[in-house]
């Protein structure tokens, strides 16, 4: 219960002071370029990766990309870039 309250407080705080949410809440930012490219920031790690789908772990859960011909173009501590044809994004 305490955790949930804390989180709510944080959300309120960010909304009042208009602070970027990714810094305070550690939310992932996904930038899509059409359906070919996706840049994911603030991720924690890769859970699974095949040619058809990628599951990426973030602070608030797993994001799943579905499509075909996936390829991770680069991968650093903060961000990663995925190319391929994306069909679905699931949370």
């Amino acid at each position: 219960m305490k955790k949930k309250e804390k989180k709510k407080k944080k959300i309120n705080f960010t909304e009042i002071f208009e602070v970027p949410k990714d810094v305070i809440l550690g939310e992932a930012i996904i930038t899509l370029t059409g359906k070919r490219e996706a840049v994911i920031e603030n991720y924690k790690g890769i859970v699974e990766y095949t040619n058809e789908y990628i599951r990426i772990l973030t602070k608030n859960g797993v994001i799943e990309f579905k499509g075909s011909n996936f390829n991770i173009t680069y991968l650093t501590n903060e961000e990663m870039k995925v190319t391929g044809s994306i069909i679905e994004i699931n949370y």
Binding site: G45, I46, F70, N71, N77
Partner: protein
């Protein structure tokens, strides 16, 4: 583009990771700030690229995740260098050849002499050799301005000399002038003597006592104009003076001329088909023949062409490329006809007379007779000419004055 070039310069490896959970391996890499790219999935693992330096940081991760790492490909400049490193002697050879080129550029490998007409190139090079300027001498030791002065003073017919060093070539520019005239001391007393026998055509005396007159027949070495001036009062000798004689004397004289040609002569018939060439390389004085043609005939003329190797303009090396041509000939005995010989002799005579006329000698006539002989055709006779004659002959004033002493003693 720039990024990929940077990656190439730094060098990277393509590796394959297999194991229980290769995803964890990638996550750990990302956590440790190891940059990886082009991650592709294969059946039981991943293939990705990683920089060469980062590759050495992978072993603890591989141990942790129990994955196996294998290098599939090495791409980039550092790996190319490694290959060269293995070829040590190739590298040494490269260094030695560069050093050799630098060393060779410190010496003179070619001497060119330009503008010499009277002095032969051999003459000048012989003098340069005496002055220690030869092919192969050390360049910084040659002082061009000093060399100019030396050449100018040694060869007195040169007007100016300028030498320069370009690359490994020493060029000497020479401009020749008229020979500085021999200054005759016109105060020293002298006689004028005939150099040829003949008849005096005219004599104009400016200084001295003329001893001959027009129409006189003189022998060789006859005194034509005496430098002794006898000062007389009536017939009495009063005093004696000595002067430098000066006169224009035209002498009619003859030059003997004879010429023969034998009817039989040997002509060389060059056979083009049997002509053979030999090519050779020459380093300093060592010669390496490349082709060694077999020459059957004993009769041949050798024509040799030498070309110095010049890899860069004006950078000559002491390597020569020689082409030798052996021109094989047959000796054919031939005979002239009488008419041919006469014609040849006549043309030779004309040539001779032209040469005489070039020397300011006026030709009057010739009585050259052409005669047929058994084996040869003979031309004999003499050429009659009018030439300027007379040569200064200096004498000692004191001894000549002694000769006159008796006149004066008598008088006293």
């Amino acid at each position: 583009m720039i990024l990929s070039l940077w990656k190439y310069m730094q060098g990277y490896v393509v590796i394959r990771v297999r194991g229980y959970s290769p995803e964890r391996f990638i996550n750990l890499c990302a956590n440790k700030n190891i940059y990886i790219w082009n991650v592709r999935k294969i059946a039981d693992g991943y293939i990705f690229c990683i920089s060469g330096k980062a590759f050495f940081m992978l072993s603890p991760i591989a141990k942790k995740t129990k994955c196996r790492v294998k290098i599939l490909k090495k791409i980039g400049m550092p790996f190319k260098f490694l290959k060269v490193k293995r070829r040590k002697y190739f590298l040494y050879g490269l260094l030695i050849s560069i050093a050799a080129v630098i060393m060779l550029s410190f010496f003179v490998w070619r001497i060119e002499i330009e503008g010499n007409m009277k002095y032969t190139t051999e003459e000048i090079t012989a003098y340069l050799t005496k002055e220690n300027v030869t092919i192969g001498s050390f360049k910084p030791k040659i002082q061009c301005s000093k060399l100019d002065d030396q050449l100018l003073s040694h060869f007195n017919q040169t007007m100016w000399v300028s030498s320069e060093l370009i690359g490994t070539k020493l060029i000497i520019h020479i401009r020749e002038g008229v020979e500085s005239e021999v200054i005759i001391d016109d105060k020293k007393p002298c006689d004028i003597v005939a150099t040829n026998a003949g008849t005096i055509v005219s004599i104009i005396t400016r200084k001295g006592t003329p001893l001959v007159k027009q129409g006189d027949v003189v022998e060789k070495d006859t005194v034509l104009v005496s430098g002794t001036l006898e000062i007389k009062e009536l017939t009495q000798l009063k005093a004696v003076e000595f002067t430098h004689s000066d006169a224009d004397i035209l002498l009619k004289t003859k030059y003997p001329y004879s010429d023969t040609i034998s009817y039989q002569y040997i002509e060389r018939n060059y056979i083009k088909d049997q002509q053979k060439t030999d090519k050779a390389l020459q380093f300093f004085n060592h010669r390496i023949n490349l082709l060694k043609p077999k020459i059957n005939s004993m009769n041949y003329d050798i024509v040799e062409k030498q070309k110095q190797i010049e890899p860069i303009k004006n950078f000559y090396l002491p390597i020569y490329y020689m082409t030798t041509t052996f021109m094989i000939y047959e000796e054919v005995e031939k005979t002239y006809t009488v008419e041919e010989t006469e014609e040849i002799l006549k043309s030779r005579l004309n040539l001779h007379m032209e040469k005489l006329e070039e020397n300011n000698i006026q030709i009057l006539s010739n009585d050259v007779i052409f005669k047929e002989d058994k084996e040869a055709f003979i031309a004999t006779g003499s050429i009659y000419v009018i030439e300027k004659n007379g040569q200064d002959k200096f004498f000692d004033e004191l001894t000549r004055r002694q000769g006159y002493n008796e006149y004066f003693t008598e008088e006293d």
